[in-house]
């Protein structure tokens, strides 16, 4: 606490400087009253700016207000008034100042009096803030004035609008995003309110762009492309594309059942409506990967004009959230839709951010469910994305940190497999066995192969892929050990177990007398290349692990003996030696695994020897 004397001294000093500033302001204003605008000197401008700002900062807004409202000063205000914006806006943003209403009055008067171009500069400068609260407040405060100012710019407003929208979106990007329904409702950081304000902000410009479009079309009878590139349309398109990336790609929209009134969903819907209004057909945008668009002789290159990420976000909004569904044609074929969406899906799944992966999976799932089972032709696998996407899915299933996404990835992968026809399934399985490099995935694919063989063996379902000529080459790839007898069986367990399961299935299901799959004539080869090395491997591994177990237990006993002399207790409980216990557990588990493998091997032996004997 400062002493009252010091406080008083500070007040006096402040009043003195304030007084000085006010004096200076009055002086320069009086001086300029008599002069025409072009006779104001640079010094006049500077003095006005500095003194005016100081007055406001020091709390003398009442006096400034009266100067600014004075009829005699209107020319001066028009010319120099905009320089007062910074401190004014600071006050308005803070909202607590006692001088709020006066500053607001000055602000509004300046907006009406000063030149639009200069006001624009002043307002835009003040958009840049650092902390989320101030950002949100300044946006809420400034969007309306900015709109009014821009509307005064007439036909040259497009580039200024672009600049404004760009700055605004940069600021919005700094706001934390709501993730849950409650967060969206509470809107603590006002992102939702900003989005709503943004829509109101762009409305008149969208309307103007739509009018321009209609007028241009009235003049040219039928336009195939956009001959007259409308700058306003371009800026609005840029804006929409940017919002599709941020915030729309990153937020999770809530459906009407979850959240009846959702500002974010409304925002997204309005963006789609804006696109239509400015002449960008949403179906064309969404299906862009497959449509050869004519190069628009305009201001932006195709890739820049329609960023891929924005289009992917748009596709997600249309197909997963069904926004603007009423205006989206229901005539496109599901396969065409899938083919197009694969590009978007590939993009979304290609990076590791969880929100992108989630959206990629959702879009993939929605695209697949429209397609009938076993209907996708093998030709589709010649399209790059149809192979890249499964590769991405493998990554999702195996390394994505979120368990629910890993599970969903697996579910969607299986869904995609089910949609391919038999030949395509065959090719896809081969491809995944070759490229996934993950025992779990390989095991899963092998299980699928078994299922397909099972289907093919049913009466009427015969095909050349899973029972005919093509089966054996595939089986040879499956019934093999990656490193021969030295294969790390624990590392490759999933794959090895599924291969054994498949083989056991075959020898049970396909009678030696039928040999529809050809397995019986192949058995002697499989014995050499798979079963024998596997037996050797199991024995070697078992021996190794048994030795390890013996050693570990011996060490543990030795340690226990030592510890009987010196033991650690906490309360009444003796701390167990955790490391070697869990080691022992792991070793037991490994040995159990080898037993499991061996039991299937033995079973297969029984089945094949039995049949072999009956054939003799």
């Amino acid at each position: 606490m400062k002493c009252p004397v010091c406080l008083l001294r500070e007040d006096k000093a402040r009043l003195k400087t304030a007084g000085m500033a006010l004096e200076q302001l009055s002086d320069v204003v009086q001086r300029c009253q008599a002069l025409p605008e072009d006779r104001y000197t640079t010094e006049d401008h500077d003095v006005f700016t500095i003194s005016g700002r100081t007055c406001i900062e020091e709390g003398n807004s009442a006096q400034v207000l009266s100067i600014v409202l004075d009829e005699k000063n209107q020319d001066i205000v028009r010319c120099m008034g905009w320089n007062l914006l910074p401190p004014l806006i600071q006050v308005l943003v803070k909202k607590e100042d006692k001088k709020l209403s006066q500053c607001l009055a000055i602000f509004n008067h300046l907006l009406q009096t000063c030149r639009p171009k200069e006001l624009l500069i002043g307002l835009l400068e003040q958009l840049e803030q650092d902390d989320p609260d101030t950002i949100a407040t300044s946006l809420h405060l400034l969007l309306n004035p900015l709109q009014k100012v821009l509307l005064c710019l007439g036909s040259r407003k497009a580039s200024s609008l672009g600049m404004t929208l760009s700055s605004v979106l940069d600021q919005v990007a700094k706001l934390p995003l709501p993730h849950t329904k409650e967060q969206e409702e509470d809107d603590v950081f006002s992102l939702c309110r900003c989005c709503t304000d943004l829509i109101d902000f762009v409305k008149p410009f969208v309307h103007e762009a739509r009018q321009n479009l209609l007028n241009t079309e009235a003049r040219h009878e039928r336009e195939q492309g956009r001959d007259n590139e409308d700058e306003l349309q371009t800026e609005l398109l840029k804006f929409c594309m940017k919002t599709l990336s941020h915030p729309l790609l990153e937020v999770q929209l809530k459906d009407p059942d979850t959240l009846a009134v959702s500002p974010l969903r409304n925002f997204a819907t309005e963006i789609l409506n804006t696109l239509s209004a400015i002449g960008e057909s949403v179906p064309s945008l969404v299906y862009q990967p497959l449509l050869k668009r004519k190069q628009v002789p305009g201001f932006l290159e195709e890739e820049v004009r329609y960023p891929k990420e924005s289009l992917a976000s748009l596709a997600h909004l249309v197909f997963v959230h069904h926004l603007a569904a009423d205006t989206f044609p229901s005539v496109f074929s599901p396969v065409f839709c899938l083919r197009s969406n694969m590009e978007h899906i590939c993009l979304l799944l290609s990076r590791t951010e969880e929100f992108r992966i989630q959206k990629g999976l959702e879009l993939y799932e929605k695209s697949l469910v429209r397609v009938e089972d076993c209907s996708l032709h093998a030709d589709l696998l010649e399209i790059k994305t149809f192979l890249t996407v499964p590769q991405h899915m493998v990554k999702v299933m195996t390394i994505c940190p979120r368990h629910d996404l890993r599970t969903r990835g697996l579910k969607v992968l299986q869904l995609s497999i089910d949609k391919f026809d038999t030949e395509a399934k065959y090719n896809l399985f081969q491809y995944m066995l070759k490229t996934s490099n993950h025992s779990g995935v390989e095991g899963y694919v092998i299980k699928n192969i078994k299922n397909q063989i099972d289907v093919a063996l049913q009466p009427g379902n015969s095909n050349t892929w899973f029972v005919g000529a093509h089966l054996l080459p595939l089986l040879r790839k499956v019934l093999s050990l990656p490193d021969g007898p030295e294969t790390d069986l624990l590392h490759y367990l999933d794959r090895v177990m599924e291969s054994l399961n498949l083989l056991r299935y075959l020898v049970i299901r396909d009678k030696a007398t039928d040999n529809q799959t050809g397995i019986w004539t192949e058995l002697y080869k499989i014995e050499d290349t798979f079963l024998k090395p596997l037996r050797v491997g199991v024995n070697m591994s078992r021996a190794h692990y048994e030795r390890e177990l013996h050693n570990t237990m011996a060490t543990t006993r030795a340690k226990a003996k030592e510890e009987s002399v010196l033991s650690v207790s906490v309360g009444d409980e003796k701390l167990p030696n955790m490391t070697s216990e869990s080691q022992i557990q792991a070793l037991h588990s490994a040995l159990h695994t080898f037993d499991m493998i061996e039991s299937v091997l033995v079973r297969i032996e029984e089945l094949t020897e039995g049949e072999g004997k009956s054939l003799d």
């Binding site: 209609l214 079309e217 009235a218 039928r222 057909s281 497959l290 069904h322 569904a325 044609p329 229901s330 005539v331 496109f332 074929s333 599901p334 396969v335 065409f336 929605k366 469910v369 429209r370 397609v371 009938e372 996708l376 032709h377 093998a378 030709d379 589709l380 010649e382 050349t464 005919g468 000529a469």
Partner: protein, 236 residues
């Protein structure tokens, strides 16, 4: 798809039913040294389409060789001479019909070929207003149209026709490349038969619309027959 059909048609039509002579004896054919492929080639070159179909000898020689046993081929060879069902011995209409009935595997770059299990077309068209009968769209060309789609119970599930005439001037018709599998099959097939200015009512069976799945999350249920009123505004 269409190219291969044409190919078979011409080859069977231009080849005259010259006297086809029997070159090999049963003993020769049965010999292990005698390759199946040669028998297949001969039969495919000389037999009528219906004969090949009956004996499952259509398609890529390699594939046929894999699935057909030698005994079967020898039997077929003999039967060919007994029945004299050589190429060029069938009336043209029959050939056309059989050609349509064949399941043809062709690698198509643009859109994968649908399984050609032809029966009658799965849609009907009633012309409400005739078109100019000159400007028909070709496969791959752009078609622009106004349309309204309803379910059998009359529910409108989709339309691009604006409510007022004035708005129609401000809206663009739907434009897409026809015949490439971008739209439901009923549309692809029907629009190829419509000329500029034509207005028609199309009733499309689910198989050529959205089939067993329907369009989830939309007004179109599974197994829905769709009714469209389509007006062709422009052709390319």
């Amino acid at each position: 798809m269409y190219a291969q059909e044409d190919q078979i048609q011409t080859s069977s039509l231009t080849k005259m039913a010259d006297e086809v002579t029997r070159e090999w004896s049963d003993e020769q054919l049965k010999s292990d040294a005698f390759p199946k492929k040669d028998i297949i080639t001969f039969i495919q070159d000389n037999a009528a389409h219906s004969f090949l179909n009956e004996h499952k000898l259509l398609g890529n020689i390699k594939n046929v060789a894999k699935t057909a046993k030698k005994e079967q081929l020898i039997i077929a060879y003999n039967q060919l001479f007994e029945s004299k069902k050589f190429k060029g011995t069938e009336p043209i209409e029959d050939v056309t019909e059989q050609v349509k009935a064949v399941k043809i595997e062709v690698k198509s770059k643009e859109a994968p070929a649908e399984v050609v299990d032809e029966g009658p077309p799965k849609y009907t068209k009633s012309v409400l207003k005739k078109g100019d009968k000159t400007n028909f769209p070709k496969k791959g060309e752009n078609v622009s149209c106004w349309y309204t789609g309803t379910l059998e119970d009359g529910t409108v599930f989709d339309t691009n026709v604006p409510k007022t005439e004035r708005k129609k001037k401000q809206t663009k018709p739907l434009t897409f490349k026809v015949g490439l599998g971008r739209v439901i099959r009923g549309w692809d097939e029907a629009l190829l038969t419509m000329s500029k200015g034509e207005i028609a009512r199309l009733e499309i069976e689910p198989e050529w619309a959205y089939g067993r799945k329907g369009l989830p999350d939309s007004k179109i249920p599974p197994n829905a027959k769709l009714i469209f009123e389509v007006e062709v505004v422009a052709v390319d």
